[in-house]
Amino acid sequence: MSSHYEAPIRKPLIVGDKSYHDITVEVAAPVEGKANKLWWTVFTIALLAFLWGLGSIIYTIGTGIGVWGLNKTVGWAWDITNFVWWVGIGHAGTLISAVLLLFRQKWRMGINRSAEAMTIFSVVQAGLFPVIHMGRVWNAHFVLPIPNQFGTLWTNFNSPLLWDVFAISTYLSVSLVFWWTGLLPDFAMLRDRAIKPFQKKIYSLLSFGWTGRAKDWQRFEEVSLVLAGLATPLVLSVHTIVSFDFATSVIPGWHTTIFPPYFVAGAVFSGFAMVNTLLIIMRKVSNLEAYITKQHIELMNIVIMITGSIVGCAYITELFIAWYSGVEYEQYAFLNRATGPYWWAYLLMMSCNVFSPQFMWSKKLRTSITFSFIISIVVNIGMWFERFVIIVTSLHRDYLPSSWTMFSPTFVDIGIYVGTIGFFFVLFLLYARTFPVIAQAEVKSILKSSGEKFKKLRDGNHE
């Protein structure tokens, strides 16, 4: 028996002997059950943070941008740092759902729903900042190319900030459509299980009249593929365009051609870290360990490790090019980053983003849930500091030393940032209680992707 070669079996993507019905029940459980104390506690904290942020935003709009810590030299700091950070986080969702779909990576099915939800919620946070950072928010519509009574007055299509407007709105809409398409059969499932008429009504509205006919499924698959095809370039384009905000400028430390790939890698890096953070908690709280397995976390850790290393290469390339360019201002900008008054931010960025993911080379560490969670937090701190370092340390000491100064945040800066984190979690927590957090229809298709179960049957060993 043991003499013949036995091909290795794929590891199961869903552990535990689940039946189709088990999946349905377990996915629907958080929606149908009652929220526990933990949910309420976290929700309350998130809500309070959100309200603090909201108060800070209202205060800013009512009084002026002067309530932030900005000055004549540093015109952007936490506002755009937060913007880029949130947009970056938003990248994982599309990558997982679109790119991995095209590459037929089936392990994505366990996590894509929540990853996409995270994408949409974080893009909402990101979108807030370009709006509220304006000195005159009430004229925000000026950035839209809408016909107006001023004759030929049009937006400036040369401005990367305008490209941002298009990039972010396209991204948000495509992501939303893609997400919703995937949600249709699952909403229908909830609708069919709903007992209360109100819930039934809501879920039937949300499911757009999904009937589950073969034609529905066929169209569903086709639309998913088409949308995946549409969304894939967006994964690359959105952060590329965000990086143009800096790359097309003339400020040393911003004016860098390496920015597009560097930003995209960084975005995927931080996005996966955020997915890890959220899912490690969610699989525990919503009892989804069978669907979001150690294997998922390990795979995501590998992506984090790879993108982290790409980002590290980019950092080193930047330093090299600054030196190699022979341009005094460029050289000083990078010297100042590493050794100037904000050296601590640079050190945090380097250690969090370049060194910490290297632990993932160890199988033991990358399969440890606790360790993955810690690293995911560390990476997100690091990525926030990356943007802070790029924005603030480039601006605070640029060309003319007479204008050099420093930046220090006020309680309003902090309030708005914490507020968006609160807002994000409010949305995510509400989502976790009302949406099918696992793409159960898809997951059901991979229930039997591993032969392990059959092998066990053959061996007569039922554990």
Binding site: G66, W76, P130, F142, S159, L161, L335, P401, S402, M406
Partner: protein, 1018 residues
């Protein structure tokens, strides 16, 4: 226009016989109105609680209410002229020539008046007038909301008639008691006022006129009087100088009344390969020292010694052979003075008659052409001895009445408490004052005087130069001039205007037109006089001077470019004007050398947002103590400390303006040099409001390009005015020749350029204030300045070198090898040298032809004008601040808050009076928009329109900006480069011309000129 159109109401009308049409024609209301149904319903009507009377009441009430509500329309305060004055055209500015003379600053100026409001001060160039920052800002003091608004007796308001009656009766009492009347005034230099004081003497007898300068030049006056017989100050024309040696004279500041920067700058611009050499010996880092070619730091007591040595070397030919850097420098300076002969000049700021005598003797010995002892100046007349005598007489009860005009002795006297005591013993004390200041609050009668823009007057700033002062607005308050009051008290019925006109016609005009003199603002009489020199024992003076002993710490008091003697302390523009050297606003402080700071344990450090904090020190001078903050000042002589006068006022000032501490309390014996100073570190820290936080140039020699005079004369310009090169197709080409963009044709129409000569710019800051006034730039206050949020459209960057000079910095930067070497070098370059070389650079929007700000604005709110200006459309701006981030020059300013009408920013734009100074041609920006230098587009457009209306092309050099107009040194020249004749056109092609940060390729329309330093020694 009646219309014949007929409107059809229905098809039925086609049928002419239709009964319906007929009925409609006859009866407007087709259906019957149910009046009967309503009125006939007796039952319901009777049941109603509303009676007919009530109904009528309601109708009456509502009608009345409606008509009342209709009456209350918006109150529009602008009233059109019923009969329009000939010379006032709404929207067109009028200019009047007048003279500023506040006892500290004297200037021939032009006043720009819009719709009856003076809004800006400009130099009267036809009268050779120059303006400094304070003169430029003086227009805002007119609209000071805390001015004295009417006469007061012991703090309560009183009518002029009552005041006159009471004062005259008291004066008569004094006359009867046989006590003298003292008139204490600041320097007024007014011939007609002098006559009026004499008239007072005729009426009441025993009138003693004492002239008092808050910041005295008594020593210089005494010395000049001893040598040349008249108590005045010599004039200096530095343009003629080849060698200037200054020992403690801040002649680009307020030394002897100031105003020398224009002639100085002329000798500093290399012409035919020559420029003057300026050697400065001083203890504080002054504006003058910062502009010098060679600067030596010596303590005040050493300055005496230096002067004696210089005198000995130049006049007596004796040189001591002691090997010290000071001795060495003195001998070299002496050699240069001798070589230059009559083209040299020595000046000193030592407040000692003997020292002043020595310099006069040196200048006399070398027969200096620079000094003018004939056309003497009357800008300082104060007599310390007489003032001291007056105070002791007052305390002895020997003074019957004291009339104070244009002086604030209670604040400015070092022995102020003695003066207050003396005042109590005087029967009558009267103060004429524009502000409700310390003196006005202490005397019995505080009589409100008008601002000089509301007054008549005359001034002889210089002998033979008679300037006129004329009102440009009706007095805003119930004020009366000092001169008018004197006329009233002496029983005259004519007004001061009549008196002035009469007195000019008889004494001055020599039959020439009064109207012409008033139009010109100045009347010059040719006088040729021989000056005889009195015999003075200079050697004895030298010996006497040599006896002055130094102490461990010595204090030098000085006046700042902003506040001067402190009389305009309630002027927010001046409070916010950063000191040209320390770049600190809203404060005075002790300046101290780094070495002394270290030994005392004093530190300066930057807090998290970059703002500067400094230790506090308790200073004791001759028993007077005060706790003051310390600013570590590169270039401060070891063992010396500096402190600015003019701060620490409390009365008649808005709370925000009550900045700093009063340094007059240390001004003992009216001497700016005080020895016997002890310092002790005190608890706590002070928060400074610095506009510039980084002091060195970091070896970035392409920002301020420098050359030595030798290199400038003998080496190709490409060597010292290097154009950056870039690689194009693997060849090195000049960066200016490479262009990513298609160029526009800029040869048609006007194309504006601004040229800034770094050799001529002394850093005086007049342009900064002129820009404030012209462009309605808001004042943001100390807290916001601390947050690096100053709003100045035009700033003057000041850099210190780390090495001895900036060339040394560049070399040091190049020498730093390897990563560690580079890092260490750059860290070292952050610290200025102990005695640094200093450079000034005015920076405003560079109006780049390839502007980085324009491409990044998402809403196209900033875009390029046809005439080269980079324009801001405030209405379109949404405030993303992207443009400011992408500006390599960091000249864009964001409205962080709403500055006008905001009690958080209680400056001139928060009260109705202060708002009168606003220029109606320039928008007041709202919160959330970006603003910056517009290259005074409202001025260029006005010039173009004027020419167009007059049907002519714009004249050569007709275009001006506020800054170029205010620049007395000629450093800033504005014009149209499409006009070959305009001065700016040739300046942009000069071999010294370069653009700031040329390598970025922004192609600015502002051009700088390489700073040339004369490093030739002996």
């Amino acid at each position: 226009m009646a219309s014949n159109k007929k409107y059809w109401k229905s098809v039925e009308e086609l049928n002419t016989k239709s009964s319906i049409v007929d009925t409609l024609k006859q009866n407007e209301f087709v259906e019957e109105i149910p009046t009967d149904e309503f009125l006939g319903d007796k039952k319901n009507l009777e049941a109603s609680s509303t009676t007919r009377r009530d109904f009528l009441k309601y109708v009456g009430f509502t009608t009345a209410a409606a008509s009342l509500a209709a009456c209350e329309g918006p109150v529009v305060k602008s009233i059109p002229y019923v009969i329009k004055p000939d010379d006032i055209i709404p929207g067109v500015a009028e200019y009047y020539a007048t003279t500023m003379a506040d006892g500290f600053d004297f200037a021939n100026v032009l006043v720009k008046v819009r719709e009856g409001r003076p809004i800006k001060i400009e130099p009267n160039k036809e009268a050779n007038g120059t303006t400094n920052a304070r003169v430029q800002a003086s227009v805002l003091s007119l609209y000071d909301s805390l001015r004295l608004k009417g006469p007061k007796a012991n703090g309560t308001e009183i009518s002029w008639a009552d005041a006159d009656q009471q004062i005259v009766s008291k004066l008569n009492e004094v006359k009867e008691a046989g006590l003298p009347i003292a008139v204490l005034t600041g320097t007024c230099a007014s011939p007609s006022t002098k006559k009026l004081v004499n008239k007072l003497n005729e009426t009441f007898g025993n009138v003693n006129h004492v002239v008092y300068d808050a910041v005295s030049e008594s020593a210089a006056l005494d010395a000049f009087e001893a040598m040349y017989g008249s108590r005045a100050l010599p004039d200096y024309n530095f343009e003629k100088a080849e060698v200037i040696v200054s020992i403690g004279a801040d002649f680009l500041g307020d030394w002897q009344g100031g105003g020398f920067d224009a002639s100085y700058a002329k000798s500093r611009v290399p012409k035919n390969g020559k420029m003057s050499r300026h050697i400065q010996f001083e203890s504080n880092m002054t504006l003058t020292g910062a502009n010098a070619d060679k600067r030596l730091m010596i303590k005040p007591s050493q300055q005496n010694l230096a002067l004696i040595k210089l005198y000995n070397a130049v006049v007596r030919g004796i040189s001591t052979r002691e090997a010290s850097p000071l001795n060495d420098a003195i001998l070299k300076a002496a050699a240069q003075i001798k070589a230059a002969g009559s083209k040299a000049v020595v000046v000193t700021g030592i407040q000692d008659k003997n020292a002043q005598l020595l310099t006069l003797a040196i200048n006399n010995a070398i027969n200096s052409e620079v000094i003018d002892v004939v056309a003497i100046k009357n800008v300082r007349k104060g007599n310390d001895a007489e003032v001291t005598q007056l105070i002791s007489d007052m305390n002895a009860g020997k003074i019957g009445a004291l009339i104070i005009n244009n002086a604030n002795p209670v604040y400015t006297l070092p022995n102020s408490s003695e003066f207050i005591e003396g005042l109590k013993k005087v029967k009558l004390s009267v103060a004429f004052s524009m502000q409700d200041n310390e003196t006005a609050k202490t005397v019995q009668y505080a009589l409100a005087t008008p601002h000089y823009l509301e007054s008549w007057g005359d001034v002889t700033i210089k002998k033979g130069h008679y300037s006129l002062m004329q009102p440009t607005i009706k007095p805003l308050f119930n004020t009366r001039q000092f001169q008018d009051s004197l006329l009233v008290w002496t029983g005259s019925t004519s007004s001061y205007y009549e008196f002035l006109k009469e007195s000019w016609k008889t004494d001055i005009l020599e039959g020439k037109s009064w109207n012409q003199a008033l139009h010109d603002g100045v009347f010059v009489t040719e006088t040729v006089e021989e000056v005889t020199i009195n015999e003075v024992d200079i050697n004895a003076a030298g010996t006497e001077l040599g006896k002055v002993k130094g102490t461990d710490f010595e204090l030098s008091l000085y006046t700042k470019t902003g506040l001067g003697d402190g009389q305009m302390a309630n002027n927010p523009w001046l409070q916010e004007l950063p000191d040209p050297i320390t770049r600190t606003s809203w404060d005075n402080y002790l300046t101290m050398s780094k070495a002394d700071a270290e030994s005392l344990g004093v530190i300066n450090h930057n807090v998290a947002n970059g703002a500067l904090n400094g230790s506090l020190v308790e200073i004791t001078v001759n028993g007077v103590s005060e706790v003051l903050p310390v600013l570590i000042q590169p270039g401060q002589a070891k063992g010396s400390i500096g402190l600015a006068l003019g701060y620490g006022r409390k009365e008649g000032l808005k709370e925000e303006m009550q900045t700093g501490k009063n340094a007059y309390q240390f001004y003992k014996g009216f001497n700016t040099y005080q020895s016997d100073v002890t310092l002790k570190l005190a608890e706590g820290e002070h928060e400074f409001a610095c506009v510039q936080l980084h002091n060195t140039l970091m070896g970035r020699g392409d920002i301020i390009k420098e050359a030595t005079l030798e290199d400038y004369n003998h080496i190709d310009a490409k060597e010292w005015n290097k154009v950056p090169v870039v690689s194009l197709d693997h060849n090195e080409v000049e960066a200016t020749t490479v262009d990513l963009w298609d160029s526009f044709d800029r040869s048609i129409g006007h194309h504006f350029n601004l040229s800034i000569d770094l050799n001529a710019c002394t850093g005086c800051g007049a342009c900064v204030i002129a820009c404030h006034a012209e462009n309605n730039v808001p004042v943001v206050g100390k807290d916001e300045i601390r947050k690096s949020r100053d709003m100045h459209w035009l700033r003057i960057d000041r850099y210190y070198s780390h090495e001895e000079d900036f060339a040394g910095d560049n070399e040091k930067k190049e020498a730093g090898k390897g990563v560690i070497g580079y890092k260490d070098t750059m860290a070292e370059l952050e610290d200025p040298s102990e005695n640094p070389s200093v450079a000034f650079q005015p920076v405003m929007c560079q109006h780049c032809n390839h502007a980085p700000c324009e491409t990044v604005c998402p809403v196209a709110a900033t875009s390029h004008g046809r005439q080269g200006q980079n324009q801001m459309a405030y209405n379109r701006c949404v405030g993303t601040r992207y443009c400011a981030n992408n500006c390599p020059y960091k000249v864009r300013r964001f409205n962080w808050f709403n500055y006008p009408n905001n009690s958080e920013f209680d400056y001139n734009m928060n009260d109705d009076l202060g708002k009168m100074v606003l220029n109606p041609d320039v928008t007041v920006r709202s919160r959330g928009v970006m603003e910056k230098c517009s290259m005074c587009i409202q001025m260029t457009q006005a010039t173009i329109l004027k020419a167009k209306k007059e049907g002519r092309p714009v004249n050569t050099n007709e275009f001006e900006t506020a800054c170029s107009n205010a620049c007395s040194t000629g450093a800033m020249v504005f014009g149209d480069v499409n006009n070959e004749e305009d001065s700016v056109t040739s300046l942009t092609k000069d071999k010294r011309a370069y653009h700031l940060l040329e390598h970025i390729g922004t192609k600015p329309n502002v051009v700088y000129h390489v700073k040339v330093r004369n490093t030739e020694e002996a």
